[in-house]
Symmetry: C3
Subunit: 338 residues, 3 copies
């Protein structure tokens, strides 16, 4: 695909070569994200960070990524107060807000709303999550994490990957999107571990199988994670259930801790989670005794969100090859370097 | 007036030459707003964007305008949490907040509050809307739009303008302010089209008439827009009525669509609206079938808000003649140019 | 202490020499805070301004301080929407958010939470207030104000200071923290003026006495302020009482106005208040007829928050000696200069 000026709305837009282009640019962003260097390539550009549904970390991650390229951020962080409640169409909102910025990131609670918005926007729109539908940057940062973690431990590649997806696979849009992206690669093996009522939607299983992936379904944890490269755990999406009590039925069913990891996993099995992990006693899907495990990749995963989002901004605004030209060394104390 | 260091609180401050000075500076802002060029003239300056009443678009428009001049924005977006609820006077708030920035834009639900605030501020204050009282930047961007649209279609000027104002003329503060500004020009003719209960306040009609404008009142749409240069439509200001049911009595009375436009308007009649337009079926004051009409100026009108606000910032901070000195070409992909 | 990379969590961290180092750097920030000069030393750096409890002025003061050093600000302004409600631990939040910025300022309603957060953060954390526990930058700006005001009126120094603290000394965390900081100095005399039920906690009185301060307790205003250098008034912290009615019992007990000042204070007694002052008729602890009194330091006190916070950022990021290197003259109209 041609990234310049494009909207980033769905993982379905990408071919394998597109994903690899994004990842190559993300690799180049690392010195900036680690605050070894500063680039000012987007000095004067404005991101409209339009979160019509609250999300501190995704909003701040997008905003920081844009700041790290030298740009400014104008934002909104809630639905109630927008003109939408005065009867304005999303297309009108898009025509107006796109006059205020060079690129827009949008989150909205309604599935399909971000694509609607993008159809009337005069600047590129990045989907920051539209309800239960898509969250493409999360899927990209997950796959980028898989790629880096595998390369770091034994030089494995994504082709031939064996991954276990665990938890609320029905409601978790991150596993849906990741499933689609993995279908771009060869010899993928996926083990789906969930309560029977919370398994992955059949359409996504079908999509993966028709792309050649081997997909198996399990309702048991320990024996299903014996020989996987990646354990991808998720939280019960309580907000998608009809009641807290209903969600409680499924919480804490598939807990991973260091003892289970030691007994059942391979020594270099990588542990991932889209975060937030639910650390309350009745959930605790990833125990805090894993925090010293070097294969716990969940915080590197969150960090990778910044470089992947920087890469997307650089690509849609066509500055990927000018990043270094406008750069200099960081002048302040950098605690990450120590 | 001398703009340097001045508060911008009301349309009553301006003489015709002041308005024309603002518009001349706004014209110079266009290459920056269109992202052809970047200026860093206000690099290091801070705007305090204090919205004590929510408004996504006006808040973001002010913030983006300041960013486009190279400055930073600190902001607040709600009333509940401010120190005002702990019994602090607006004057105290102003003395404190004006220590944090170089210029302040303020919106507040109480009429007169922004002027109160300005009286104790040590930096220039721009009124971003104080209840039903004033919203001077909206009136300026409306008049700037009229000037540009008329000049673009046949080289007409504001002197001699015939304009129809339609809808909730009683509560819509934008038409009040625009009425006052139009009084600065010669041979203006205004047709007020509203339900009888929602007509323009007599004081404003009197103000226009004593300035020489010809003002007529109508309760019917089609025959009243036959020979006007501008149709200025507004939404029913539901939030100013005692109940939704009360507002419903007046909604959808004066709808304009392409068929009516073709039959009754002149071929170059310009259509304006302060936005948001209410696109719900029971309101729909400007039908979406007008969206392809080249004389529909509503989105150009919103865009004009950015250059007008840039001009006001440049004037009160006295950098209008230094904009180009600190400029360079945009480095990134500009979707507006295509 | 070594400031580079340090967390600033509590006034207990500081020795006298540390406080004086902060104040020396703050002095150097004045030309930048007064907009005589601009520095870009932190251009490219990001502050994560994480306010999990609302506070317009403290949040904007931190953000402006960082902008004045050339850095960018990403922020959040409320608790409800954070991942904490999905069961995430503060440590997880810290690991993630610290990947998005170079330094974090955090306010949180729970005592001890900011230290918890800091323990897992990879970047320096500044405590912006954790419940009733600590608010170290407020104490520093108070002491900085005392130092400047005393130096300005007769060249007095903090050693030998006599200060009256007035009002709700039980709940006001600012007087708690200021009490601890004053203990670093010699020959301090403190007069505590409050209702009997709202006196300073015994632990803080004990702390001051064991450091050599002379502490007396009074329940009467006028005769207790006869020979003090500083009158430090505070508001009744209504939000810490069980009901408004309970707070009402104590409101307005110790009002200072110009008549009382003239009759009982010394001619150069300085009036301070952590703000907001409650100006409602039933409270009115500092009457507005004091606003023309040159010794009313409350607005200079708020302004001093900016330079003290700039100093802390400069110290923890180790750029205090590079500020001037990246500076230039302000290009815009500066209303503070007039």
């Amino acid at each position: 695909m041609n990234f310049t000026g494009a909207h980033i709305l769905s993982t379905n837009q990408f071919q394998r070569q597109d994903v690899e282009r994004i990842f190559a640019v993300a690799d180049e962003m690392e010195p900036y994200a680690l605050r070894k260097k500063v680039t000012r390539v987007l000095e004067g550009a404005i991101l409209g960070n339009m979160f019509f549904e609250a999300s501190t970390r995704t909003r701040v991650s997008f905003g920081s990524a844009f700041n790290l390229l030298g740009g400014e951020v104008r934002e909104t962080a809630g639905f109630e107060n927008s003109a939408l409640v005065k009867g304005e169409s999303l297309q009108d909102t898009a025509r107006i807000l796109s006059g205020f910025s060079d690129v827009i990131c949008m989150r909205h609670p309604v599935a399909g709303s971000v694509a609607d918005f993008a159809s009337a926007s005069r600047v590129p729109v990045l989907n920051g999550g539209d309800g239960a539908n898509e969250h493409p940057t999360q899927a990209l940062l997950d796959l980028y994490t898989i790629r880096r973690e595998l390369a770091g431990t034994g030089g494995r590649s994504i082709d031939g990957l064996k991954i276990a997806m665990i938890g609320d696979l029905r409601h978790g849009r991150t596993v849906h999107s990741l499933g689609r992206l993995l279908s771009l690669y060869d010899n993928i093996e996926v083990v789906l571990i969930s309560p029977e009522e919370l398994t992955l939607p059949p359409s996504i299983i079908e999509h993966m199988r028709s792309a050649g992936a081997k997909v198996s379904i399990s309702h048991e944890l320990t024996n299903s994670i014996r020989d996987v490269d990646i354990v991808y755990s998720t939280r019960i999406q309580e907000e998608r259930f009809t009641s807290k009590e209903d969600a409680d039925l499924y919480r804490g069913k598939f807990r991973l801790n260091q003892a289970i990891y030691t007994e059942f996993c391979q020594p270099n099995t990588v542990i991932m989670h889209p975060l937030p992990r639910d650390s309350r006693a009745d959930a605790n899907e990833l125990d805090s005794d894993l925090d010293d495990n070097p294969n716990l990749a969940i915080f590197r995963q969150a960090d990778n969100g910044v470089v992947v989002r920087m890469a997307l901004f650089a690509l849609v605004l066509d500055v990927a090859d000018k990043i270094h030209e406008f750069s200099y060394d960081v002048r302040w104390y950098n605690s990450r370097q120590v």
